[in-house]
Symmetry: C2
Subunit: 343 residues, 2 copies
């Protein structure tokens, strides 16, 4: 049997010491990290970018099929994704946790192993947070901090008419991973002896359980001296995010279905579940790719990067927000993305 | 009957718009606030201080006797207190909320009314956060950001032998306010027709329901050019915090019971409940006053401020952490402060 250490045997401060004792500071800007009332950060000459997310068990994640290590990794990545979406470099992180006595010290260690793995991969320092008991379930609050030169941060509201509409990576996979895990959960709950068959779905399951943030796209922009005119990360589904950029920039757009990047594995998974791959990309969510607009002059630089797809362009607001389907039809883009309050 | 608007009628983004539409930016350092992937902050020439807290219903607050407006106010103040405890000036705030469908839009408005009142009072900009549903209860995550000149921030670990040990305000009141409210709750649950008698306990109840952060003490330090040698805020009880400063500074201390500031109203409330006022100050918590050490040379400046008490001094570690009681006895200081995991 796995060892189980009760959190209460350490107390709050003992627990914080235990979870943070191996931290090695990676950024010179981290003046003071964990262990005081606040962390102190030095972004002299650069601006500070900050973003916060709240993740609640059985709303944002299901521990039946989410290993705690993956959850820790993902909790970090999801927040870093917001910092990259500002065209900034993440540097520090605060994590607050609430958990019931259902969770042992070993469970928390597993969660933090994922947190530290993500911090290592993205070069970010964990500098603070809070630890608390909860009456029920696992609650994660993550705040990520980054830095950006003043001329370089990119908003959602600054796209221009004629700009190319682009995204990184491929879309829809995370949603299909979720559909797959939900099906396996149902089967498992009906018959705990059935072993799940995950082999063919590794890619889509990996995208939901262990997403990555778009650091390499931001690095590419830096190398090529591209500053997108508008940008955000794709967390709620492509159509919802496109509508945000259109609304906040006061523009319309044209999107081409055939240009939406969808991985072969995603298409196969979609067909297996009798779902339309395009619908999964438009309304799925949790892809954590970047949606951005660039000036047409930057097109030649963009084609160097096969990880970037040009999927449409920005128009006058009067032209609406349109998608041209492969079949040659034209529809309004509607937000059917994830929305916690209307589900 | 009070109107009740279901959150689901607005959707996530409608709700965020509703709750943030009246924000007016107060700090020049707030370059970009709510409405994008992240906020952008400019602390050029100063360092950024950051702190995060997680507040969970029925762990940190009880909505039976906590008005939502007070809760919003307190959630902000508690975090600002951490920024002041670094000798920094709070400038921005992020608030993430999770709540079940038990809460209406009107309830959230009340909560945010308290949030904005605290932001106004302390001159802080709300620049971001997250909104989420929860399966159960009300969950609040607050991240506060402040700024401090590089030479000025104060840690817990930098007290020196011989330094004076001081605190602001008076202690123990919030704990007695809590004891009082818990008693009234019990009476109410047994007989909902009994009206609570709060008149005599206004002060202690005010201290638990609507605490203030120690801005005026930090302003006084600035005016008098005092930089404490170590500092933290008193959230878990005086004895627990003193032990933190001793441990992190590698020192011992002497504390005089008769010097611990306790308000007359607090003493009266303690006697009513047959509690020792000193024990309430030592082990209570939620006072959000400042505990700090200063060089002996600063004593003459300190006495100008009747809101500050010198309660002891720092010693060699070998001398232990001692309290001299009014009766002339000497005891070890032990942490019996609030600890969520051992309750």
């Amino acid at each position: 049997m796995e060892p189980r250490t009760e959190i209460s045997s350490l107390g709050e401060f003992g627990l914080i010491d235990h979870l943070t004792k191996n931290i090695e500071i990676k950024n010179a800007s981290t003046i003071l990290g964990v262990g005081d009332d606040g962390a102190v950060i030095d972004h002299f000459g650069k601006q500070t970018v900050i973003s916060s997310d709240l993740l609640i068990e059985n709303v944002h994640f299901d521990l039946i099929y989410t290993p705690l290590m993956h959850l820790g990794y993902k909790a970090v990545v999801v927040n870093l994704s917001d910092i990259y979406a500002m065209n900034a470099t993440p540097t520090q992180l605060l994590i607050s946790l609430g958990f019931s006595n259902r969770f042992s010290l070993e469970a928390l260690d597993e969660f933090y192993e994922g947190v530290y793995a993500a911090c290592d991969k993205y070069g970010v320092d964990l500098v603070g947070g809070d630890i608390s008991s909860s009456q029920k379930g696992f609650i994660i609050s993550v705040t990520a901090i980054g830095e950006v030169p003043p001329y370089k941060f990119v908003q959602r509201s600054t796209a221009n008419k004629g700009d190319l509409l682009c995204c990184s990576g491929d879309l829809g996979a995370a949603y299909l991973g979720l559909v797959f895990l939900e099906r396996e959960k149902k089967i498992f709950l009906e018959n705990p002896n059935v072993r799940p068959e995950l082999e063919g779905e590794k890619y889509v399951i990996g995208r939901i359980l262990k997403p990555e943030a778009s650091k390499k796209t931001i690095d590419f922009f830096e190398q090529q001296e591209i500053i997108p005119t508008a940008m955000m990360d794709i967390s709620d589904g492509l159509s919802s995010e496109i509508l945000h950029i259109c609304k906040q920039s006061g523009l319309g757009c044209v999107l081409y279905e055939e240009k939406i990047p969808i991985a072969e594995e995603t298409r196969n998974a979609a067909f297996k579940f009798e779902l339309d791959p395009t619908a999964c990309a438009l309304s799925g969510g949790e892809d954590y790719e970047l949606l951005f607009t660039v000036r047409q002059e930057d097109f030649e630089k963009l084609v160097l990067n096969e990880n970037i797809s040009v999927i449409g362009y920005m128009t006058n607001p009067e032209e609406g927000k349109k998608i041209y389907t492969k079949g040659g039809n034209k529809f309004d883009i509607t937000a059917q993305g994830w929305n916690a309050f209307t589900k």
